[in-house]
Amino acid sequence: MVKKLVAIAILAGIAFMLYGLFASYTQKETLPKTSRYYAIKGPDELGSANLVTSVVVTYRGLDTLGEVTILFTVASIIGFFLRSRTKREARAENPRETSEILHTGVAFLVPIIFVFGAYVFIGGHLSPGGGFQGGAIIASGTLLLFLAQPKTSGGHTLITFVESVSGIAYVGIGIAGIFLANGFLDNRILPVGEFGTIFSAGAIPIIYSLIGLKVGAELSAILYKLKDAKEDA
């Protein structure tokens, strides 16, 4: 009881502070200095029509690298804590058979979902979308496969392969930026190209595709490990 009262008192304090923030908030009329620089210089410097993409991939590219690293660390820790069942155990389990309709539908849908995910992250510099969204869509496709075939426990090798290759290629492109352009993760190692076409914005489509593959593989790996976790009795 006392504990609950203390908790409510602390929350009331936090709520009061947040109310203060809300009451004193006034909307800006113009963009802040940094954002105005990105908005004015960004399209000419980087050639990307989607400014969020240019901020995520190039101006704040190092943050994105750190974020992908965090995802990798989380996937590793989850793999460390949850032991997967072996293939024999998977076969010994007898889940309910999935229906014919689901099998056919999944075989038809999963390729379309993967293609859509690839479309989302390749067009990330022109339209809304990008590596994180496309990666999440690809992970949803993998999840659909997992749900339709509960017995299989394959595919882990492929997921690990995609994860490591895309991670290495991402860092490699970043280092190429030091030698061929102005700094780490600079996208101008390729020509900036004509504004608003698919082959523009230098290396941004390549970097975002790699991020997309990486994020998709990490999220799939997390889902895979949570699905196949074995109880140690």
Binding site: I8, S35, I40, N50, V55, T64, A75, P128
Partner: protein
Amino acid sequence: MEYVALATGLILVILGLYGIVAQRNIFRIIIGFSIFDTGLHVVLVSIAYLKNRTAPILDEAVSKGEAASKIVDPVPQALVLTAIVIGVAITALMLTFALKMYEKRKTLDIEKFEDLKW
């Protein structure tokens, strides 16, 4: 409009915090954390919004020259983009720990885990 969203985000933050400190079930604490997360994202996005402006994507409607006076702030949006992915990773981590704790004690009540109490 953006004020309504801002207020909702702040209330969601408080609701999520209340869920974290007041619930006893670890699973419900994680759900409270995820609501807290969503509230923070709503707050950041509504701070990025400027009146009568469009999304930070240049096309036929917004040309290169007038971008600075027609688009909303892209930087907080980029922050939220990464924050969502980090948030789901952290949620997965917490769920894993909850699963391990459940396997150890066969309960999810936070009061039953007294190892570090004095």
